[in-house]
């Protein structure tokens, strides 16, 4: 089977191109030993099978970044290289093309976004380009599928280019000559749409639009997420799944242990989806009924922001701000996701380039960004005392986020790449690319998070069977009383809350605490990692060492914040 590798710059629509060629049956996996994800698929044409591999998008092949090395390796292994080019950005794309030519592999060029080029009044002489480079050039529109058939047919005519390798200085000269020979522009007057597009990047108007978009994103995500929970998932769980579990519960009466593992403890004589802690009760409900709806709504909106081209602009606008805490603008994505659920928030840190950045933002998310259920806890505990205490808790968390970020910036050494980011033109999103992407991401979440979260719930369940938690609480109770100004009963709540936010809220309410004590307790609870799922995801994404470091930072930060609050408030 011949290996066909897709190579091209970032933002040339390569993944859309890949989806078009392969359908949604792609398998994406990490390149062995790295965090760089590549997709593979098989296509067949006239009975001949090809293996299609999507190399990471790069500007060059010989630079030091991980993605570029892998792209280089994939191309060395390839039988045929398809160079996907953004036709509207021909000159810059040709730099990579020249590097690919030097690899002397049979090659075909796909000039993508052909429709956009024609709309903008750029003329490209395809025959001349094909002649100069000595390889076939096919214009395509990946989003609509135009030209894709012809491209597949052309794979047989892929040719090894014959060129004389040149130095880097000469390369731009050569590219300039090619461009002069094949491309011509016609004048295009800026319209009001162009001006609006530009306004999203100007200092003042850009910030205002950015704030509006962020607010809108937050609102829409909650709207979709809560809608899915209230109108689809909860009715399904309570009407159909609950009776099923009850039936199973009766059959399991022969083994109390198995029953505790699968169904969990009864709360007030009933199975409680959030508190029973069984693999089939809480395990299934938390993952599919609580986290999944937010995953779907967040990834849908994120896909929309990516496909329209607004996301890079948002990253650019916020870069200065995030830079102060040692991150770059793309850190907004995990942060936003974290406000819904910390699990996808931490998983999405993969879009950041370096390990250092991933560690910093993961710690910040899990400590200072309250997830939806932590926010529910804050509202539940403090809501009846008015909006001021609730606002106070959010304000304290924001302050913690900033201070901790600045400290981590200086404390954690490591590689922080300087920002060089291409801003793609605005594009209209297509359902046919948006939905497969959403499906791939949701599938990825289910495959990766389901098993580890189940394992975590099992672990907590087993821990609760031992009487470890009350014991710890008793030991540290006096400390809580003396330094945090909290009655020693609260220590049990906080210890339990280390892994179980849901229980914590129910236990805090009857304790008759003052508003100040409630604010301190809820800040500490919010700063603890949200749930066992978060622990497991950090473990999986960053490793044991980072998890332990993060946990220690979390304990120190939350206790210290409690101490300070007790003195200040």
């Amino acid at each position: 089977m011949k290996k066909v590798v897709l190579a091209g710059n970032p933002n040339v629509g390569k993944s859309v191109f890949f989806t078009r060629l392969s359908g949604i049956y792609a398998v994406s996996s990490n390149y062995p030993g790295t965090t760089v994800e590549i997709s593979r698929s098989q296509i067949s044409r006239d009975g001949v099978k090809f293996e299609l591999i999507d190399a990471p998008g790069t500007y060059a092949l010989e630079a030091d970044a991980e993605a570029e090395k892998i792209a280089g390796k994939l191309i060395d292994e390839a039988d045929i290289v398809v160079n996907v080019i953004d036709a509207g950005n021909l000159e810059r794309n040709l730099y990579l093309t020249f590097e690919l030519l030097e690899k002397k592999k049979p090659m075909v060029i796909a000039l993508n976004m052909w429709d956009e080029v024609q709309r903008r009044g750029v003329r490209i002489d395809i025959q001349a380009l094909s002649h100069i480079l000595g390889i076939p050039v096919i214009p395509v529109v990946a989003t609509t599928g135009e030209g894709m058939k012809k491209l597949i047919q052309t794979l047989d005519h892929a040719r090894v280019p014959i060129i004389v390798p040149s130095s880097h200085q000469e390369r731009w000269h050569e590219i300039g000559q090619v461009i002069q020979a094949v491309q011509s522009f016609s004048y295009h007057k800026p319209t009001w749409v162009d001006r609006l597009k530009e306004a999203t990047l100007l200092p003042v108007s850009g910030f205002l639009i950015g704030l509006g978009v962020l607010y809108g994103v937050f609102w829409v995500v909650r709207f979709i997420g809560e809608g899915l929970i209230n109108y689809i998932l909860d009715p399904l769980f309570y009407r159909f799944y609950y009776p099923l579990l009850l039936g199973l519960d009766r059959h399991l009466s022969f083994s109390p242990f198995l029953r505790t593992i699968l169904i969990g403890h009864l709360v007030d004589g009933k199975i409680d989806f959030e508190q029973s802690l069984g693999l089939l009760s809480t395990g299934i409900y938390v993952e599919l009924g609580v986290v999944l709806p937010y995953i779907i709504s967040f990834y849908f909106i994120l896909g929309l922001l990516e496909d329209t081209g607004y996301l890079p602009r948002l990253a650019v606008l916020l870069d200065g701000f995030f830079h102060r805490i040692g991150l770059h603008g793309y850190a907004i994505v995990p942060t936003l996701l974290g406000l819904g659920c910390n699990v996808p928030g931490i998983m999405s840190t993969r879009i950041l380039e370096s390990k250092t950045e991933r560690f910093i933002i993961s710690v910040l998310i899990s400590i200072a960004v309250p997830c939806a259920s932590q926010q529910a806890l804050i509202f539940g505990v403090l809501g009846k005392h008015g909006t001021m205490p609730v606002m106070l808790v959010y304000f304290i968390l924001l302050l913690v986020w900033i201070i901790l970020g600045v400290i981590l910036k200086y404390a954690v050494k490591g590689y922080r790449p300087a920002l060089v980011l291409e801003i793609p033109p605005y594009r209209f999103p297509y359902w046919k690319t948006l939905l497969p992407k959403l499906w791939l991401r949701v599938k990825g979440f289910l495959k990766e998070a389901l098993p580890i979260v189940s394992l975590g719930i099992l672990a907590v369940n087993l821990l609760f069977m031992t009487n470890l938690f009350p014991y710890i609480a008793q030991a540290i109770g006096p400390f809580f009383q003396k330094y945090l100004g909290l009655p020693s009963e609260v220590s049990l709540v906080l210890v339990l809350g280390f892994l179980r936010k849901d229980i914590a809220m129910g236990l805090l309410a009857p304790l008759q605490l003052t508003v100040k004590q409630l604010v301190i307790s809820s800040v500490i609870l919010a700063m603890f990692f949200p749930c066992v799922a978060t622990f497991m995801v950090i473990l999986k994404e960053l490793g044991v060492k980072k998890l332990i470091q993060g946990t220690i930072i979390m304990l120190f930060a939350s206790i210290l914040t409690g101490l300070i609050l007790n003195l200040v408030l």
Partner: protein, 70 residues
């Protein structure tokens, strides 16, 4: 260089790795660029090169020397 102004790159004064990275993205001496925007709070500089926009961190942007067009 102020937003809206146009100039020609004369020199990039930085380490080899970065010059190569910028080079692969089309930022090379001799190119005409326009500064589009300068994001607040120490944010990046947005430049336009060949009808496309690029954002560069301030540190990098300050190393690109430009001959202004009058």
């Amino acid at each position: 260089m102020l937003p809206g102004q146009i100039g020609t790159i004369t020199e990039i004064d930085h380490g080899h790795g970065l010059v190569r990275k910028l080079c692969s993205m089309g930022i090379v001496p001799g190119k005409k660029i326009m500064k589009v925007s300068q994001i607040l709070v120490g944010g990046p500089i947005v430049i336009r090169i060949d009808d496309h926009d690029l954002a560069l961190g301030r540190g990098i942007a300050s190393r690109i020397k430009v001959r202004m067009e009058i």
